[in-house]
Subunit: 335 residues, 2 copies
């Protein structure tokens, strides 16, 4: 690997000039520039970015903490992050936490050792170890998709979760459903609570109540959706519609309902959340809430960038718009 000194030697100038010719071409005379570039060519020289970063005290990398990379919704968010990162000259370090605290702390710790200039947390937990909290206070971080409970030190980029749940409730109620079940995500997640609250609120607005027996817990996975549906549909007062808090659970629920001999949407309507690509290909296609996943990612990255560049990190909320996508999995309730 040839270095800047080698290029300096070949072109008969100082290393400083080489550095300038490469970074700030108009700072050197055209003749010199040309000579340097020629030498660069001949030497097959590529600036050592590692050294550059070290010298500048920044890594130009951001760490992305993702609860589950196998979830296509998060993949899309990551795409948005990556695109924006690339535009800004940053690289993306991936940290698949699997919802596990040890993993989160491990990856988040990389921002404490200058391996990342900032953090994007797609999960809903404070990612640092408690003992690192003091140091961590100054690392640029933004929350996207999720929101760290009881912690408003960080900017958040999220969906209007409550509004989306309301829209979905309105849709189902409008179809004549009165007994509606919900398969939630982990209840410690603020956005799960937002969605539940929004849903309930809308039901109440229509004079309906959300029967707590018809609210079951899921974990944003297909098997947990199937399990939830099994519980709901085998109860005496089975719901005529089920709102699942993500598409994966909805897919699991549809699967389970069919297994139990029910037809969708004739016997039971099912709705999801996220609008992952698979939701178009279920049978029937899934009614769901579209989240602008890439935009969420892009926004998060841009916000993070500003903080890295010195803008004070403070609580803020960016709410992106949702879109209710009605497909075949929900239909009028027939008595």
């Amino acid at each position: 690997m040839s270095n800047i000194r080698e290029v300096a030697r070949r072109s008969g100038v100082s290393v400083a000039t080489v550095s300038r010719a490469l970074k700030d071409p108009q700072m050197v005379s055209p003749r010199t520039r040309e000579r340097v570039l020629k030498a660069v060519e001949e030497a097959g020289y590529r600036p050592n970015q590692l050294a550059r970063n070290f010298s500048s005290g920044k890594s130009f990398a951001v760490m992305v903490l993702v609860p589950n990379i196998a979830n296509p919704f998060f993949s899309k968010v990551i795409r948005g992050i990556e695109k924006a990162a690339q535009d800004q000259g940053y690289s993306v370090l991936l940290g698949d936490t699997k919802g596990d605290t040890a993993h989160e702390q491990f990856y988040a710790g990389m921002a404490l050792t200058n391996q990342a200039d900032g953090l994007i947390q797609l999960g809903g937990c404070y990612p640092f170890a408690e003992k690192d909290a003091a140091l961590a206070a100054s690392v640029p971080m933004v929350n996207a998709c999720e929101r760290i409970a009881e912690d408003d030190r960080y900017p958040v980029v999220e969906l209007d979760n409550s509004g989306a749940a309301q829209a979905l409730a309105r849709h189902l109620i409008g179809l004549g459903h009165r007994r509606i079940g919900v398969i939630t995500g982990p209840m410690k997640s603020p956005i799960v609570r937002d969605r539940l609250a929004g849903f309930e609120e809308e039901m109440q607005r229509h004079g309906l109540t959300l029967n707590t027996e018809l609210v079951v817990n899921g974990e944003f996975t297909m098997p947990s959706g199937a399990e939830g549906a099994q519980k709901l549909l085998s109860s005496i007062s089975a719901p005529t519609a089920i709102f699942c808090m993500n598409d994966e659970m909805a897919i699991g629920a549809i699967h389970q309902a069919k297994k139990m001999g029910l037809q969708i949407p004739t016997d039971v309507s099912v709705a999801g959340f996220d609008n992952i690509e698979f939701s178009q290909f279920t049978d029937p296609p899934l009614t769901t809430v579209d989240q602008p996943a890439e935009a969420l990612g892009r926004y998060a990255m841009e916000t993070l960038r500003q903080i890295i560049d010195g803008k004070p990190m403070k609580s803020s909320r960016t709410i992106l718009p949702f879109d209710l996508v009605v497909r075949g999995s929900t239909d009028r309730y027939q008595d």
Copy 2:
């Protein structure tokens, strides 16, 4: 951010001793060690990994080039890579190439500027720009899942694609199917050709021929699977079974077949490849070939690590075993 000098000052030793106390504790006396650790604590010191890396001339990061991060199969591979990377003290830089040459070259280029110590290419193309080929020759790289056509300089970790396709063919033929259609991936991909060749070979072994009109091209996406199925199923000599070269296309094909009023597997059997989690939840559940995705990733990372550590990079093939998973989407052909 406090640095090693600060700790040295606080503990009254030299920076070298601090360095040693942290990296190689038994090289310093217990008393010194203790004093240093105390100072570290007090100063809230974390070694600057960026500086460490720079000093050692390595980034301890690997770049992973993935054709499509939204494909759950690749997500699983990445999980395997990440797990292994973490075990070995490496971090993972993500490069979602979207199959685009410019993106590939951009991300691959990061290995040329010391931002990554090596590359894992999950796609089937030579990722460097031609003009960088000379420099690139020495960057550690391994190919996983795919294989770079006509290039045997790199180790490859892959599946027995031909064997898997043969097993699938045997399965379908055993069910009585004679007119079998195939929806391939991009034909420039070596593994697509492997699968096709294996499939055809097995058919011939049974005295059957693969009608070229029943082979259509797909792009590993659900829409392209639907499109392929549309072509196949609307032809005069429609196949009684369709082999799709990944699960996404199979999901698209099932969707399309149903749309055309066909029942699966009664009217047409459909099989996929990869065994992504969604394939268990299609209706009917998908017969497919399980690839040990995480193991593929882990193996690739371990192989790459050896090369980074000095083992000569040379052509090699690691073939991982597949597993034919028979589910409800394939059944006996009824005349």
